[in-house]
């Protein structure tokens, strides 16, 4: 195995990890705190991509930093939509059996995708300027687009910020308390009614960022989120529902297995991920870092 291949596998692992983690971290955060498995996550990912590409269309021939800022603006817009969804829709089903949550979030995903179809249509959108502007790097004979490095760095930076928010701030302490024991948190006077929309918005912001970051290297169509969200749900189960550590570990493992698998066993690329999931769940039924009882 030469160095070029090793470097390819290393960066391909990180790139796929950064795409996956933007979805899985939000899924786990929302499940961990709100107790809801958000089936609309993939739709928010798609919405992030569409909002960002619309913002992109207003700018041509601007410095790359402007495009970079637009990723954040688009994700914040989608995050705010998420903040509105929690009190208006999700709050009504917390006390109902789990299937109502699944039905609600699944319907929400259909509604969001249909709204996208209504406003943006079904034809693909694309933006290439930003990607081309940044150029390529050559690392040990392997050409790697600089944009990928920026996307990876952005997601890792966001993860670090999330870590500080959750573990070094007061609001993070409250979120962790609510996630560990909701009743106890309420009885200690933590106002979960203000906490929940924030957490949901944070999860949605992260996944919208994943969608927005896909713009430069992907065609934006309604199906953009379908493959990655399917894998993201598998990872969330593998890592342990509600566990942030599990989401990170799971995304890294899957990113690596895929990068390696495509190289050496392209025939079974997708199957490898599910075989891995099967093995992990047979040994640890609650996932790698799961601490929750099975809810259903």
């Amino acid at each position: 195995m030469n160095v070029g291949i090793l470097i390819s596998i290393f960066f391909n692992t990180l790139l796929f990890f950064s795409i996956l983690i933007s979805i899985t971290i939000g899924l786990s955060l929302i499940f961990g705190v709100l107790g809801i498995l958000n089936l609309a996550h993939g739709a928010f990912y798609t919405l992030g991509a569409y909002v960002a590409i619309s913002l992109f269309s207003y700018f041509t021939n601007v410095p790359p930093i402007i495009y970079y800022i637009l990723f954040f603006i688009a994700s914040i817009i989608v995050g705010i939509i998420g903040m509105w969804v929690e009190p208006t829709l999700l709050r009504r089903v917390y006390k109902l059996p789990d299937e109502y949550q699944l039905l609600l979030t699944f319907s929400l995903s259909l509604v969001i995708l249909d709204i996208i179809r209504y406003f943006w249509g079904v034809m693909p959108y694309y933006h290439y300027e930003f990607f081309a502007m940044l150029g390529n790097s050559e690392i040990a004979g392997t050409i790697y687009p600089n944009y990928y490095l920026i996307a990876i760095a952005t997601v890792i930076l966001l993860l670090i910020l999330l870590y500080f928010l959750l573990f070094k701030t007061k609001i993070g302490l409250l979120i962790r308390a609510a996630s560990m024991d909701k009743e106890m948190a309420i009885s200690l006077g933590i106002n979960v009614k203000t906490l929940y929309p924030l957490v949901f918005a944070l999860g949605i912001f992260l996944c919208a960022m994943g969608g927005a970051l896909a713009i430069p290297y992907s065609a934006i169509t309604l199906g953009i989120g379908s493959e990655v969200t399917a894998i993201a749900f598998a990872i969330t189960a593998m890592g342990g529902l509600g566990s942030l550590k599990g989401a990170i570990l799971g995304s890294l493992i899957v990113g690596f297995v895929r990068a390696l698998g495509v190289f050496y066993f392209p025939e079974i690329e997708l199957v490898v991920i599910y075989i891995l999931m099967f093995i992990i769940l047979s040994i640890k039924p609650y996932g790698l870092c799961g601490r929750y009882e099975r809810r259903v």
């Binding site: 693909p124 687009p145 430069p216 895929r258 990068a259």
Partner: protein, 475 residues
């Protein structure tokens, strides 16, 4: 003869008189009550000026029309057996989800044609109505929806259909149960007529099908594009269509050039966001040629990621179904030098062919896109059905039954915007296959094909009754 039986002269005269009177009264009444005979009269009124008011009167009818200079009014002969209800056509296509990109073309082509047919008076005077079903609901739900279209909504013809999976699931139901003339606009799997319904009666397909583009690609690579090819790699969609395309292309190429070796076979699902591991893996194996049957949005994503990583500089690339969204393949990311197939439809072929020139103009005005093969297949399907009905009526003097319609469609040749196309007795439509090398020209913001390689169906479609792989093996 006794007195009573005797009829005297007075009585005789009385009865005879009454009989004659009765006849006269009856005759007069009969004359008055008999239906008005329709008398055809042609009147030419020539008067100075532009408009005239002409009053047409007949017993019981009087109408006044204002006519410009000349007007011809023809009273049509009564038509036999033509239903007075509108003619309903069921359209199945992806109307939601990522594949709606192709479905939109099917919808636009059908609506455009039906508007034209209705503006010209419909099919034998019957207005045509379009009822749509979304293919994205999945094969099982689609079968139920189509069953409802036929049994409850009384649809008389089905057209459209994009997915091969839906097409193969629906075909036996149409053949055995619903028995309604059906033309698939796409659903191009070879297995439809080779395995699923080898003796079709009601189901037709108006598009070129998969083996044609794969065999044409192999022949063009071997002859013109890269005769020295030794090592090939494939990156294809991970479902039946992608697997079929790769199998037929690689087998055909290896038959033509037995020293060709496969160095990489990659599969990725539809909607893949990240192709980079595949691109790295292909680059590491240094093939001379890469074949892909990804289409529409996925092909855009693949090309956007492969370009910067240097794939198009390192190797030659064949995209067999680039025709799926070619006017979206913008010059800024789609490179020159790719061998791209567009099935039977590309906006500037056949060159200077009036039906195509007219069609492209109308289509572009409506959709701001250029027509693609999915829509052309649907166009051909509706026209074949319309022609069969009109022919049947001309021959039989009445609205033809289903058996007659499908029999008439079975050998039908037709002038379509994409050239002269022929429905074979096995219900597969054949015509030329377009390939070309992508090129950037100043007139268009997307890649065009120059030079073009046009293959006639005789060289790339397996003969009637012969299975694709058997045909390739027999070369």
């Amino acid at each position: 003869m006794n007195e009573k039986e005797k009829i005297n002269r007075r009585d005789y005269l009385k009865y005879t008189g009454a009989a004659i009177g009765g006849l006269v009264v009856g005759g007069a009444l009969g004359y008055l009550l008999k239906p008005k005979e329709i008398i055809e009269k042609t009147a030419t009124v020539t008067l100075p000026g532009v408009e005239r008011t002409v009053t047409v009167t007949a017993p019981g009818i009087a109408s006044t029309v204002t006519v410009p200079q000349t007007v011809t009014v023809t009273t049509e002969k009564p038509k036999k057996g033509i239903p007075s209800t509108p003619l309903k056509i069921g359209l199945t296509a992806f109307l939601s989800g990522a594949a709606a990109l192709e479905g939109k073309h099917v919808e636009a082509a059908a609506e455009l044609l039906i508007e034209e047919i209705n503006a010209a008076g419909g099919i034998l005077g019957r207005k045509v109505e379009l009822l749509k079903v979304d293919e994205a609901i999945g094969a099982d739900a689609l079968i139920k929806a189509v069953r409802k279209l036929v049994t409850e909504d009384k649809v008389e013809f089905l057209v459209g259909l994009i997915s091969s999976g839906n097409g193969t699931a629906l075909a036996p139901v149409i053949e055995k149960e619903l028995q309604v003339p059906t033309v698939y606009g796409t659903a191009t799997t070879r297995k439809l007529f080779e395995e699923v319904i080898p003796k079709p009666k009601f189901v037709f397909r108006a598009s070129n099908y998969d083996p044609m583009e794969c065999i044409a690609a192999a022949k063009i690579v071997f002859k013109y594009f890269h005769p020295e090819v030794k090592k090939i790699a494939g990156i294809n969609p991970d479902y039946a269509f992608g697997r079929d395309e790769w199998e037929v292309f690689s087998k055909a190429l290896m038959k033509l050039k037995p020293d060709v070796e496969i160095v990489y076979e990659g599969w990725a699902p539809l909607g893949t966001t990240d192709f980079t591991p595949h691109i790295s893996a292909i680059l590491a194996r240094k093939p001379d040629l890469v074949f892909t049957s990804f289409f529409a949005g996925d092909l855009i994503t693949l090309v956007k990621q492969a370009g910067p990583m240097g794939l198009f500089k390192a190797t030659k690339v064949v995209a067999s179904v680039g025709g799926s969204a070619y006017s979206d393949f913008k010059k800024e990311f789609f490179p020159e030098g790719v061998l791209m197939g567009t099935r039977q439809c590309f906006f500037n072929y056949p060159p200077k062919f009036p039906p195509m020139e007219d069609y492209v103009k109308k289509y572009y005005a409506r959709t701001k896109r250029y027509p693609i093969y999915t829509g052309m297949g649907t166009w051909h399907g509706i026209m074949a059905f319309k022609t069969a009905i009109e022919l049947g009526y001309e021959l039989l003097g009445e609205w033809p039954d289903v058996d007659t319609i499908v029999k008439l469609m079975e050998h039908m040749s037709m002038i379509t915007p994409v050239g002269y196309r022929f429905i074979r007795p096995d219900h597969q439509t054949v015509g030329y296959q377009i390939y070309g090398i992508t090129k950037h020209v100043p007139e268009y913001d997307f890649v065009v094909l120059d030079p073009m390689y046009i293959y006639p169906p005789e060289e790339i479609a397996p003969p009637v009754g012969v299975k694709t792989l058997d045909w390739i093996a027999s070369w």
